[in-house]
Symmetry: C2
Amino acid sequence: MSQLLRVQNFTVSSDGFGAGEGQSLERPFGHADPGALMSWAGATASWPNRTDPGGSRGLDDYFTRDFAHGIGAEIMGRNKFSPHRGPHDPAWQGWWGEEPPFHTPVFVLTHHPRPSLTLSDTTFHFVDGEPAAVFEQAKEAAQGKDVRLGGGATTIREFLDADLVDTLHVAVAPVELGSGVRLWEAPEELDDRFHHDVVPSPSGVTHHLFWRR
Amino acid sequence: MSQLLRVQNFTVSSDGFGAGEGQSLERPFGHADPGALMSWAGATASWPNRTDPGGSRGLDDYFTRDFAHGIGAEIMGRNKFSPHRGPHDPAWQGWWGEEPPFHTPVFVLTHHPRPSLTLSDTTFHFVDGEPAAVFEQAKEAAQGKDVRLGGGATTIREFLDADLVDTLHVAVAPVELGSGVRLWEAPEELDDRFHHDVVPSPSGVTHHLFWRR
C-alpha cells in the first residue's frame, strides 16, 4: 500500500476562500468567522473540542471522525501555525494549547528556521523545502500511514500544483466571504485530474470529495 | 464515553429486505445476489476483499472504511454465521475462510451450544440470551470500544425492538427483491426514535444514517 497525501475536512466559503483577509492573533481566520465556517463539524459527536455529551452522528460526523483515521503525519503552512510573518517568535506554540489535536508529527512549511517543538503527543518540525521533498519527510515520519495536508488554502494550492495530492475532502459552507485566501474559483476546476463526488449535507454544507483519476 | 451499539454498512433492497428467501450453502443471501446488493462497497478502495489496487475514494469509501473504526466486538445472528438450522455442524467455520474480516470477538446468537472458535484474530463465541444480556457481554469484550451489530435483518429488528441500537447506517441498494428477510417497510418507520440523514450516493445506493433522539 502506498502512502497517500490527503486533505481532510478543509472548509471554504461558498465563494472559495479558506480564510478571510487580515489574519491576526485576535482573528486567526481574518475577517472570516471560523465558527460559521466550521459549525458543520462543531455540531457533531466526534468534534474533539465538544464540552457537552451530545452531538449529531449523521453524515457530517463521518467526516469529522475520519480526520485522523489512518493518518501518521500532517503538513501545514506557516500561516496555519502562526499569525506572525518573518522570523519565528519562540514563545509562540501554535493556536491549540497544550494538547494539539494532531497527535502525530506535524511539518510546518517555513523559510525561517526554528527548533522542533513538542506539545503532548504532537511534535512540530519547521521545514523549508519543495512540496515533494517535504512530503517525503512526512511519509517517513508517518511510518507507513497516510499524510494529511492540513492547509491553509495556499499550501493546498502548492501541493495541487505539484500534483502530489491523492484525495481531497473540502466542505463548502453556506457563507460568503468576498475576499481572502482563495482555494478555488469553483470545485469543478479539479475535475480534469480528479474523480469528484458532490454530497450535500442536511447541515447546509456541501461535501466535495476528490480522488485521483 | 459510553459504548455504543452501531449498525455499520448493512445493505437492504429498495423494498426493505436484507436477504432473499431460501438461504443455503450455495446461496448465502437466498435468491438475492449479494454482489448486486454490495457493489457500492465492493467498488471502493477500502473494500477488504479487493484483488486490484484501484477503487473509488469518494462517499461510499467513507462508509466502507468506517466499518471497523472504533469497534471492539460484533454481535451477529446465527443465520449470518451459517446456512444451517438446529444443532451446529462442528466442521462449519463461517463463510469467511481463515481470515475473517472482523478482527475482534464476535458473539453469535444461537440456542444451540458450541465451543468458541478462533480463526486468526477473530474469535466466535456462541451465546444464548436476551439482546440486553448479550450486548453487556459484547461491551465487556470490546474493552471500551463500541459494539457493531452485524445483522442479519431479523437480529437488527430484535435489538431495535429492545431499544438497544444507538446508530444505524443502512445502505438501500437499487435492487428489488420482492420477498425475503425484512428489515423495514420503509426507513421512515424509525423516525420517531432516531434522527435521520438521507444521503444519496453517486453509485446509486442511498445511505440512511440514524442516531438516537
